[in-house]
């Protein structure tokens, strides 16, 4: 609060020297700056520099402050900086006909006093430009109206001004989603495209990620842009040391954007967990991780829970669980409640034995409603026969994986409308 009030004072003091020519616009900037400082969005060195000098050399600090303010604008808009310098020049020129001293850089207590006491008067006395007066095109260019609000709830105000954001949009990054996450918006704004973003994109390109996936990766994990390059490299090297091929790593990174944000230790932990808990061979572990890289990113607790559910609640043997996981790794990350619901229906209603479920583990991965309506339809038609040793056998795989049209024509031997009507009798 003290900071903000000091700023207000400062603004009032150094208002008169500069509000001559580009009066209205600079005043706007100052009011904006007050808000800026109260929200501490400008770099801290501005305010600190300001406070050290404020006792004696107010005018000077005001000028410096102005420069820094230009710098602040330049943080977001590169090309505006130069314009701001321009404007400063014009300001300095215009000072000759204002009431302030000729050389504003020299501390002058007298001037300070006058400016302080005549803050409001100076405004009125200064020869202002009439709005009807014509100005030349050069002058028009030199007057720049800052169009960027100092703070905003959305990134869309800054997109046109910021080079980084513009490039990110062109890459296909969903800024709308990102700005809803806490602190991500300001993080993106602070990034410099050439220094920080481009090297990481080039790195991703080097490990084989396709250009079209960049948007997807950054939309889901913007923090990859703040991760240091050595870390990224170390993690990729770790994966390589575990005998993942380059293509696999590329596809894993593009499908699990957070993969490279986790430390080598954590990745190692995960890999060891899957290998030991499921007693898989190295190549099988690689296989399931390559197919579902999400396994390396998420928490291990739900996975442990799912394994316990499979073992204790469903009564699968260890080798059966192994087989299921190798065929459908998604079972490990599936919702426990949904998994139980499907198994309950498969085992208790459809009377499918464990051995058959192990043979067709993809049934555990399908939608419950789909399984139920198809089974009930087949039962209604008298075709629900899932035992491979008997005639008219219907494989569980075909039951769950075929699309509706194919299911009706090939498995149920009925028309799609009949299936639709049947669903309305459930």
């Amino acid at each position: 609060m003290t900071m903000a009030s000091a700023c207000v004072q400062l603004c009032l003091r150094c208002r008169s020297p500069v509000c001559t020519k580009a009066g209205a616009s600079t005043w706007k900037i100052y009011t904006q700056l007050q808000r800026c400082i109260s929200t501490t969005r400008i770099p801290t060195n501005i305010s600190s520099g300001l406070f050290s000098t404020r006792d004696h050399r107010t005018v000077q600090s005001g000028v410096r402050w102005k420069q820094e303010m230009c710098y602040y604008n330049g943080l977001m808009v590169k090309y505006l900086t130069t314009e701001a310098k321009d404007r400063k020049q014009t300001d300095e020129l215009s000072r000759s006909d204002a009431v302030v001293p000729q050389n504003p850089l020299l501390p002058n207590t007298e001037a300070l006093l006058t400016t302080e006491s005549h803050t409001s008067l100076a405004d009125l006395d200064a020869p202002e430009l009439s709005p009807l007066e014509e100005i030349s095109s050069e002058e028009a260019i030199s007057i720049s109206v800052p169009s960027i609000p100092p703070m905003s709830t959305t990134l869309s105000d800054y997109v046109d001004a910021s080079e980084t954001l513009t490039k990110l949009v062109q890459l296909g990054v969903n800024l709308f989603k990102l700005e809803q996450r806490p602190n991500v918006g300001s993080m993106l704004l602070r990034l410099d495209f050439d220094r920080e973003v481009a090297p990481r994109l080039l790195f991703l390109k080097d490990i084989g990620v396709e250009d079209s996936r960049f948007g997807h990766i950054i939309s889901h994990n913007p923090f990859i842009l703040t991760e240091s390059l050595e870390n990224l490299e170390a993690r990729v090297n770790y994966l390589k040391s575990k005998n993942f091929t380059a293509e696999t790593i590329a596809s894993m990174v593009s499908r699990a954007p957070y993969l490279l944000n986790f430390s080598v230790k954590r990745l190692d932990n995960r890999l060891a967990f899957y290998q030991q808990q499921l007693k898989l061979s190295a190549s099988n572990t690689r296989n399931i991780v390559a197919r579902l890289p999400r396994l390396l990113c998420g928490s291990l607790e739900p996975v442990k829970e799912n394994l316990q559910v499979c073992k204790i609640e469903f009564g699968f043997k260890e080798n059966e669980i192994q087989h299921i996981v190798i065929a459908v790794p998604k079972v490990l990350t599936a919702n426990k409640r949904k998994l139980t619901q499907i198994f309950d229906f498969l085992h208790n209603t459809m009377k499918v034995p464990h051995s058959l479920i192990t043979k067709f583990p993809q049934t555990l991965n399908c939608k419950f409603l789909r399984l139920r309506e198809r089974h009930l339809f087949l039962e209604y038609l008298g075709k629900a026969q899932y035992d491979p040793t008997q005639t008219n056998y219907i494989s569980l795989d075909r039951l769950v994986s075929l699309p509706d049209e194919a299911f009706c024509s090939e498995v149920a031997l009925a028309s799609l409308e009949d299936f639709d009507f049947f669903q309305k009798t459930l």
């Binding site: 321009d86 709308f176 309305k424």
Partner: protein
């Protein structure tokens, strides 16, 4: 200026009905529909980005230029209007739900999109009747009257015959009919009451306890039986309780194995969209169809044009009409009796 997305949304506004599968909460159905509609609407081609004039800094080729700064005016697309920045055009759609169905029951669920919500309110203020089919089973009683609940009692059901069941149903319907008149809020000995009864409009005014205006058995294979019910202001739990009470009345017990709504006002099973058709395109068609049927309803149809009952749904609508006539007869006899 209407964008393609807005135009599409306008076409989606209105009433339609879906078939809610059993075991799914109605909120989930509503949310699924909303996300599907949003997906469909936002998939429309986005508008071209507006161009804005900006002064771009040009690397000045000749060093003589004053301060090496030249600004050139250029027209560039304003990225701040890009869909990736502003987000999808529609982020929420108002989807209203008509008379609810609880999780374990299934059937026709009326939904409204956008402006349709107003129509939905008016629609339910007119006290429409709804048709249900109730699957019951004798011999068991459970704590929540449904077959999934904890079983609290078992009993025999050999003595139950169709005649006995129908007698109980008739008694039940009679008492409900009486309730209908008490809640009708008109003087029973007035001309107004007679005219309303003659048109079949006699019914509760506003809130009332659940009233069944029609009740009959359509299938009887002990221990299983199926009832068809027309009712007002009901809840699915109340209907399950009715099955339970029928069981008790017959000196046995009964649970309700399924509650299925086959009609909600003018919406029948035939219009209902099943789970695979909950996409924007199908909903749009259903809304349009509903709109068209309302238009044709306004014009009086000659009796010869009335379609012959072919499917089950047809029969159901016809029975509801027949039911009304029956009710009307009932009222007439009642009035004669009074005189």
């Amino acid at each position: 200026m209407a964008t393609p997305a807005i135009r599409m949304f306008r076409r989606l506004e209105g009433l339609f009905c879906v078939y809610k599968p059993p075991g799914v909460h109605w909120k989930l159905v509503r949310d699924t529909i909303e996300t599907n509609l949003l997906k469909g609407i936002n998939a429309t081609p986005p508008q071209a980005l507006p161009h804005e004039v900006r002064f771009l800094l040009q690397p000045s080729s000749d060093p003589e230029a004053p301060k090496g700064l030249t600004l050139t005016a250029a027209s560039v697309p304003a990225l701040s209007k890009h869909p990736l920045v502003t987000g999808p055009e529609f982020q929420h759609i108002r989807v209203g739900v008509g008379h609810r169905l609880d999780a374990s029951s299934s059937g026709v669920l009326v939904l409204a999109v956008g402006n349709g919500n107003k129509v939905l309110n008016d629609f339910y203020q007119t006290q429409v009747t709804r048709d249900y089919t109730l699957e019951g089973e004798f011999g068991i009683a459970s704590h929540n009257f449904s077959d999934t609940g904890r079983i609290v009692e078992r009993s025999t059901y050999d003595h139950i015959t169709l005649e006995k069941l129908e007698r109980v149903l008739a008694v039940l319907q009679g008492s409900n009919q009486k309730a209908l008149l008490t809640y009708a809020n008109v003087d029973m000995s007035s001309q107004e009451a007679y005219e309303m009864a003659a048109q079949g409009l006699l019914g509760p005014d506003g809130k009332s306890p659940p009233i069944m205006t029609g009740l009959r058995c359509i299938r009887f294979q002990p221990p299983k039986f199926t009832l068809e019910v027309q009712c007002i202001n009901e809840t699915q739990k109340y209907l399950r309780k009715v099955v339970h009470e029928i069981g008790l009345e017959l000196r046995s017990t009964a649970v309700c194995k399924g509650v299925r709504r086959v009609r909600d006002g003018p919406f029948t099973l035939r219009d209902a969209l099943t789970r695979h058709h909950w996409s924007a395109a199908d909903v749009m068609q259903a809304v349009r169809q509903n709109h068209a049927s309302k238009e044709t309803e306004k014009k009086p149809r000659s009796p010869a044009e009335r379609p012959v009952a072919q499917t089950r749904e047809d029969r159901e609508t016809v029975t509801s009409q027949g039911d009304r006539q029956e009710k009307l007869l009932h009222h007439k006899s009642w009035f004669q009796h009074k005189k």
